[in-house]
């Protein structure tokens, strides 16, 4: 059974039209991450939550926001998507019991911009 679930699997939006991607987890993990993976590139960390504490990577564009209303859910909001934001967006979780704990990934949402 999937433990990190991302919806939708595929999302198409128009240039400049806000879009929200969703991630839920059944693992009760403290930490949730959002990564961006462009075609044939390495996943790149955008931000993460440790419980309610939000941590933004220094090079994450302001266009990207996130919300975590409870332990199980985390959302990625892209306020005004540009063509360069077309990518796979991956959600991952870890327990928070130490930096050595492995991360569990969802199957991603592939975002296309028209």
């Amino acid at each position: 059974d999937a433990m990190v679930i991302q919806n939708p699997r595929y999302q198409v939006t128009q240039f400049g039209k806000p879009v929200t991607l969703s991630c839920s987890q059944t693992l009760n993990h403290n930490v949730m991450y959002w990564y961006q993976q462009k075609s044939s590139q390495a996943p790149k960390l955008l931000f993460h939550y440790y419980d309610k504490d939000f941590n933004n990577e220094a090079d994450t564009p302001d266009n990207f926001q996130s919300r975590r209303p409870n332990t199980s859910f985390c959302f990625l909001d892209i306020r005004s998507p540009g063509l360069g934001d077309a990518a796979m967006y991956l959600c991952a979780t870890t327990t928070g019991g130490g930096a050595h704990q492995p991360q569990h990934f969802g199957d991603g949402t592939r975002l296309s911009i028209l």
Binding site: L45, Q103, G108
Partner: protein, 114 residues
Amino acid sequence: QKEVEQDPGPLSVPEGAIVSLNCTYSNSAFQYFMWYRQYSRKGPELLMYTYSSGNKEDGRFTAQVDKSSKYISLFIRDSQPSDSATYLCALRNAGGTSYGKLTFGQGTILTVHP
């Protein structure tokens, strides 16, 4: 210079071959070393996780870390068509400001043909 370098391939081998996948890194602060497997249109799946220099074996997979050379490897013995996927190395600091942040290599595309 990227923090983690990984040859993207593609790599094509016959079934039963031994596969060697490699990454080099520049930041000596990396303490945890992982290999993820990513099938097409899926999220990364953790294969191997090592902490210290040396070898770790799990079935047909062996992970090798050489911290002095900043070089990590994944070996796949008796490769199968089901091993066809993208293999990503991922490295993590022991500390840092981003809890458990993974720095990925670009990924190597592997095809095992019958």
